[in-house]
């Protein structure tokens, strides 16, 4: 079957309420979905709002919902997603829509803070470096999950986030897990209390949509399973004000 020289692209316009608008975009070789959106905004409709930055798969800013699945548009080749020459582009799910393809990610980052996803150490610049063997079990666990750049794809793919507005979400919990395994961190007792409970790791149903979609091949499900174990153990030891 010959490939059509144009793509039929449906793009979300508006806010939470809005509609899909159709555009016809010339199809090129090695074209990415970000190329398509950029073409639309530059040539067809300058009012289209969207986010991007590095355009080479490093920053995660261009994350959107393409044909129902959250992905980085700069790393999604049109050939991979255009069934019958059609693409549907919408903003990331589970986040308030600012306009068109732009979402408000402040809630996502607020939950990161709620999960105590910031490193807290006890040393100062006057102290010597911490020595952490990379092959140690704890460091291996942390390293498996450390590459997260906070793009929101996992959060957007998670059904529990959609069903429970207060669920901290895969990214925040994943980051908490990496810090739990960081031997330099001093905040872990409070952190574990923050992530245990109904709005935390225990709400995860192991759908694994986050793991399916993560562009950095991280498995937040594995990290959250680790948190479940750690929280249960701490609760049994009475180290937790748990539910």
């Amino acid at each position: 079957m010959a490939v059509s020289p144009t793509l039929k692209v449906s793009v979300w316009r508006g806010t939470e309420s809005g509609r899909f608008q159709s555009f016809e975009v010339p199809r090129l070789e090695s074209q990415t979905v970000l190329d398509v959106i950029t073409y639309i905004q530059r040539t067809l409709d300058p009012m289209l709002a969207y986010r991007f930055a590095c355009r080479v798969g490093m920053c995660g800013s261009c994350a959107m919902t393409v044909n129902g699945r959250a992905r980085w548009t700069c790393r999604t080749h049109v050939d991979k997603v255009a069934e019958d020459g059609r693409i549907e582009i919408a903003p990331l799910n589970n986040l308030p829509v600012v306009r068109d393809l732009v979402t408000d990610m402040s809630g996502f980052f607020d939950k990161w803070a709620k999960a105590r996803g910031q490193f807290r150490g006890a040393t100062t610049r006057k102290d010597d470096f911490a020595r952490v063997p990379p092959a140690s079990p704890a460091r291996r666990l942390a390293d498996a999950a450390i590459e997260c750049i906070g793009c929101g794809v996992c959060y957007s793919s998670c059904d529990v986030v959609a069903w429970r507005p207060d669920y901290l979400g895969p990214a925040a919990l994943n980051r908490a897990w990496t810090l739990l395994n960081d031997v330099r961190d001093t905040d872990n007792r409070a952190r574990l209390a923050a992530v245990a409970g109904d709005a935390g790791c225990h709400a995860c149903h192991t759908h694994m949509s986050c793991t399916e979609r993560c562009p950095k091949q991280i498995s937040p499900t594995a990290s959250i399973a680790g948190l479940k174990r750690a929280a249960a153990l701490a609760a049994l030891r009475g180290e937790l004000s748990d539910d």
């Binding site: 129902g68 959250a70 919408a90 949509s209 399973a225």
Partner: protein, 115 residues
Amino acid sequence: MKSDFRARNHPAYWAFLVHRVSGVMLSLFIPLHFWALGQALHGEARLESFLRWSDQPLVKFAETALVLLLAAHLTGGLRLLALEFLAWRDWHKSLLALAAGVALAAGLAFLLNVV
């Protein structure tokens, strides 16, 4: 905006769906099961008449379905316990296939013995 089925179309999600649906259906069935057994309080004859009623093919079919649901919920649950309590391993991905296989085997065993 909420995601649709396209975002969910992968095995681990189906496993969740089976587990949830089977759990809800079992929750509806088990009270009936308790009630039926409680009929024995009124004497053996009551229980016997219920059992004879349940000899119909349609009921037997429903019973097999229930055994399947129970087995599916059990194996799915064991899979979850393994995923949550054992340190993460790569072969965990195969747990789903294993769970499905065992559940089907149990359902089949029941069907073959009841007809």
